[in-house]
Symmetry: C2
């Protein structure tokens, strides 16, 4: 298994065929678990870490539903491959940059992945296209239960699951959805929306998690509280609020279509014109322009590009993806040229680019 085989495909969550996928990119549930027989990561010896890695890895490999699972020892990976997995949302930056024995298991469809020895011994996640938290929950809880039959997780009858950071104690769960909210950004309502989310204890982050900037008008909404509520309550909280946000975004899009048709169509057309014609382009500008194109496709202002192509371009034009697709390391200026060529080749053909890769 080489990263290039991953790279030419897009994760299941990017296919854009899930519910409400014009606005909801993906639904994700993450569970943090620790082995009862070992100290938390910060107090682990190198030998502890190696043992945890091999124990959990063995169980994951044996897990019946994970026969098609890829398993990477992160420490053995090239820097470029680690960055690739970060861009792919399969490991965190911290896991990529960490030390000692650590691994990631990823199922072939990239719906399920487990980081071993990140902040906690296990960080498992299920990611689905569109708004599909219930299925994500069904899937992750089944895997969690299956692992728990073989591994004794650190658990306190009163507190629940014990985790390295107190903010995760209890369910160890983070429920999140990635939303594409270009019209709320365009109409300058996004800050107001976020302030109201914070009031009900939901966190808002950019595409690449905590501290990352919201690029391409993508925003990740997640629960901040994991203690004192059941998993179902946490899921419900996010599940209840997302339709409200979808409603706001749809209303903002309607407003733009009705009241600013010219401006909107102009911006969308210019965006695709620049993507089709630039001879060098940064990742940031690409995301910014692709975001407008994505909204344009969803509003039928652009006919000959489809959402899976746009979703794919978002991820394939990230620096590590681009380099792996191109066959090796490139310095930043060369990446900008390669990115422009890649965009041209996928946006200039009449059918919205080659689709054989997907």
């Amino acid at each position: 298994m080489k990263m290039i085989d991953f790279a030419v495909h897009s994760g299941e969550w990017l296919r854009g065929n899930g519910p409400e996928s014009d606005i909801v990119i993906s639904s994700r549930i993450r569970l943090a678990r620790n082995l009862g027989d070992y100290p938390f990561i910060k107090r682990c010896t190198d030998i502890d870490k190696a043992n945890i890695e091999s124990t959990v890895g063995q169980h994951l490999k044996e897990h019946a539903n994970l026969s098609d699972t890829f398993y990477f020892n992160v420490a053995d990976l090239e820097q470029l491959d680690r960055q690739f997995l970060v861009e792919r949302q399969l490991i965190s930056r911290e896991h990529a940059d960490g030390e000692g024995a650590r691994a990631v298991a990823i199922d072939k469809k990239e719906m399920f992945s487990v980081m071993i020895n990140e902040e906690d011994h296990l960080r498992m996640q299920v990611m689905k296209s569109g708004l599909d938290l219930q299925n994500a929950w069904n899937q992750i809880t089944e895997i969690d239960n299956s692992l728990e039959e073989k591994i004794r997780f650190a658990f306190d009858a009163k507190l629940g699951y014990l985790t390295a950071c107190p903010t995760n104690v209890g369910t160890g769960m983070r429920v999140s959805v990635m939303l594409h909210l270009p019209a709320l950004v365009f109409t300058r309502q996004i800050e107001k929306v976020f302030r109201s989310l914070q009031k009900i204890n939901l966190a808002v982050r950019g595409l690449y998690g905590e501290g990352s900037q919201a690029m391409g008008d993508f925003y990740q909404i997640s629960n901040q509280i994991t203690l004192g509520k059941s998993e179902e309550e946490l899921i419900d909280q996010v599940t209840d609020v997302v339709p409200v946000l979808i409603g706001y975004e749809r209303k903002a899009r309607d407003y733009l279509v009705n009241e600013s048709q010219n401006d909107l169509f102009d911006q969308v057309s210019r965006a695709i014109g620049t993507l089709q014609n630039a001879q060098q382009i940064s990742s940031e500008e690409t995301m910014h322009l692709l975001s407008k194109v994505r909204m344009g496709v969803n509003l039928s202002l652009i006919q000959d590009v489809d959402i899976p192509t746009v979703n794919k371009l978002f991820i394939h034009t990230q620096p590590a993806h681009l380099q792996i697709l191109n066959g090796g390391e490139l310095k930043s200026t060369d990446r900008n040229v390669e990115r422009a060529l890649y965009l041209q080749s996928h946006l200039n053909s009449s059918d919205g680019g080659p689709s054989e890769e997907n």
Copy 2:
């Protein structure tokens, strides 16, 4: 004769087939003359003006080489038609906005035109494509001589031709060339070049004469002195300096091609991408982008657009041209939409746009 018949054609000077026409758009010689039997315009009565107009107009219409001449009484023209003639460089803004009997005679190829009752009784000009001052001079002097056989011009043996403004006394001549200098702008050398031109008493102006901003990297270089030198000396002064400026611009273009190929190609490609895709666009932005496209065509970075098309787009996307081509008055926001559609239709076809108009 309606303006629309003018509008769909481009003036001879815009055909881009003259010498050095990658850089020199046009060469122009203007002569100021006044009738000895009347006071200068500011002291003319309405009757004086009417008499001057009819006298000069009659002679012009009878002039053997001007059988194909159009003659407009400017006061009778709609505001839009006057603005059209200003954009076309056939009359000045002052002539458009003036008062009383005034006219303009224009030959069919738009090489020759005479304003009657502008600042002086006669302002005649010959405009040629590319660097072609000698032919412009031959042509205008022949017309001037022919008129002088019939009209007694205000002339002083010592001072030469007498004009309303002392700066024109002597030859009454202004020699000018319009240059397209995008590489000198791109490489930030333009100010330095202009300072050295001012030292040798040459004036630098934008596309639409005195006080107008240099839009689209077009600059008009002309003599400031008309007294104490012969016509030939004035022509020689401009003729001598233009090849130096052409050399600077060519050198700057070579530098860009060799040292900033990526940046240059990127900017040129983005420019045409925006022009092909914008759904609304101002006149200023259009000129700014067309300037880059023009340089790109001249440097063979763009293959499927030709210089006559680009030259035509510069003038046809001006506000009055656009409205006349579109069949009537449009408010500014509608013009921006029409301009975008016009650009699309002329830049998106594979042969660089319909050419039957030209």
